[in-house]
Point group: C2
Chain length 459, copies 2
Amino acid sequence: MNPMLAMIDLEALIESRNFNAVREQTRNWSAADLAELMEPLSVEKAAVVFRLLPREQAADVFSYLSEDHQERLLKALGREDVANILNAMSPDDRTSLLEEMPSNAVQHLISLLSAEERAVALKLLGYEEDSIGRLMTTDFVRIRPHWTITYALDHIRRYGKDSETMSMIYIIDNDDKLIDDLRIRQLLLAKPDDKVADLMDSRFTALKATDNREVAVAAFRDTDLSALPVTDNKDNLIGIVTIDDVFDVAEEEATEDIQKIGGSEALDEPYMKIAISKMVQKRATWLVILFISEMLTATAMGKFEDEIAKAVVLSIFVPLVISSGGNSGSQASTLIIRAMALDEISLADWWRVMRREFFSGLSLGSILGVIGFARIIAWHYFFGAYGEHWFLLALTVGLALVGIVLWGSLSGSMLPFLLKRVGLDPATSSAPFVATLVDVSGLIIYFTVAGLILRGTLL
Amino acid sequence: MNPMLAMIDLEALIESRNFNAVREQTRNWSAADLAELMEPLSVEKAAVVFRLLPREQAADVFSYLSEDHQERLLKALGREDVANILNAMSPDDRTSLLEEMPSNAVQHLISLLSAEERAVALKLLGYEEDSIGRLMTTDFVRIRPHWTITYALDHIRRYGKDSETMSMIYIIDNDDKLIDDLRIRQLLLAKPDDKVADLMDSRFTALKATDNREVAVAAFRDTDLSALPVTDNKDNLIGIVTIDDVFDVAEEEATEDIQKIGGSEALDEPYMKIAISKMVQKRATWLVILFISEMLTATAMGKFEDEIAKAVVLSIFVPLVISSGGNSGSQASTLIIRAMALDEISLADWWRVMRREFFSGLSLGSILGVIGFARIIAWHYFFGAYGEHWFLLALTVGLALVGIVLWGSLSGSMLPFLLKRVGLDPATSSAPFVATLVDVSGLIIYFTVAGLILRGTLL
């Protein structure tokens, strides 16, 4: 103990209500020293000192107090003082405080934080980014089964903060375990002297705080409730998630998926607000990956350089033929990505999807193949184009199209499964990504078909 | 009048409570004839006849009655009888009935319909597909400003159907105009003898039934309410939209956008449920449009056939160079499409977006240009590839990439504006669509740059 501390009799100053002297005395001590000075004080006197301290200093001092003292002090301080201290505390100190508190106290303390601080607090409390814990609000009403309806309604009137809070009421047992939910209307219509327990059916849906927020989106998709309760691993009720927050999450998730499908990283900020340098960075990553992958087309084309030199006409159809594979692949992958996001398709469905895409790809390829074939025939008759082997060329393009579109549909639809299987986001199989993959394989299919059909004539 | 009708004295039969005879007599008459027979009856007696008629016949007869008689009869019949008749009426007859009724009666009648019939009824009442009117539910509670709190709460207990209905209470004036909304908590906390008017602040958000449902999505994005009131063109309250329905709409809209961005028509059905033939059709449309557009690449390549014949090495980089433009275009268009869907960007922002995309495109193009340039230099040094004019070739590819990526970003970002400006869905500027557009123009940029740099050497 700092020997100088012994000279300060805070207790006497407080008893004589000499608050200016307290301010003077406390101004220049370190937080750790002040905490030491306050430990022996009664909770009431310590609370007085806290109210006299500047906000930041109070928070600092508080974090140096023993857990026991902290807890008692929080009870003694008024709601506003606690809020001031908590909001001014450094996040890690606050987290260690919160980690030590019983779950109902944590919940109360978190509710005192500003929206920003609450987000931080919940983050540090161990809920991962994108977990339901982050979406939680602690503004909700919980009642006990043995209460009468009148008592419960009275409690709700006092503690229900807004209509969302009040539309669903949660029932907890003596261990704070969630045991049922009730619509407020059930309470309003019940006989005043009945017990809450009389209304219970023990059927309810609860979310886990540690689950991914997409689970919450799916849960709200399946229900018409405006709020769902959130429990911790011990099934204790620790918060609720309201549909308006989940609505925002669903919109964000869709935005992320769309941006990924478009071939960039998710921006995570509105287009008009994000710094151009940051946006370029997020777009450049994928653009460079795609560019480097697409370099394989140059390698593949290089392998077929002799064929091209012999039959320049073949190169003319390269962009047409390979882009068709990319297009059918983009269609397939985006359909699958979205169906996965909506829980319409799970990993186990890959075989059924593959069969669907086999038939779709074959049909689509045949349609494009016929059009491509007809295009070359027509240009031959009308413009005399494509030399003496026009028919074989038409056949090459037509058949290559069937193969490439089929291949595009299959690989475009299977890629999201593959990505999901290895734990990546299926939306990473963006339209440009699939197009790039299919471009490379499309070239190989095209020149292979050409080799088979045109060998001995053009090649 | 059918002369035989004169022989039937329904009135006498009803008065003598000879209901079997009424059934006998009414069985074989046409609906039009029976209606004529019933016109002179008192409303009470007509109601008795209706209850004796089989459901379908009752609905038919009802639709033949004069509007005046219909209205009086609806009032005389019990809720269940009215529901039976309404549900059994043919949709168009019902619509003409509803069109003639005062708005509060329409609302009451619609609430009697089954969910299916209600959807049909609302549709035929003139709300366009995708309008807010289609999303509306008529389960809501309205109170009057001069009521006491006690009376209002009593009314709510009686008519509030579920928690969603009850979280927001709407106040209407004597003309049924919406004049305010209240959270139920405000009512619960108010003094029982106060007037509803004492709580009013006349601040509320209302939706128009004729507005597009995307307006509802945007409105809920900006508020944390769980329901919003819907009014007709006279500001009369005709229903509410709840956030869970709007949640579904937002998900559907995102699905449509994603599917369009992927280059197919919106499926409108889950991927696993839609018939393959139907899916092929929806995908084929765009695939064929893209294929035919992409044919321009064959035309463009044909124009440069001489250049390719002289410098086959140029053709090797065609897929690489043009796909980069497509990729940057896909990125730009999807970012803009989503920002538009979220109301972050409006048509007026086109110039600001263009400036952003100019800088982004230039940066991205330079990055890819440098990589492309380096790739050719490297392959020259390591593999002795690309002949004596390797440096000029590297320069051609590098500079073409800058131009093509810049062009891709600009056209990809402006296309959604153009589509929106002419009243089409911006999401139509799908990744494959943009890629196709940029492929064609990319070829022209590439061979033009090649012509400028390689003239006199390779070309």
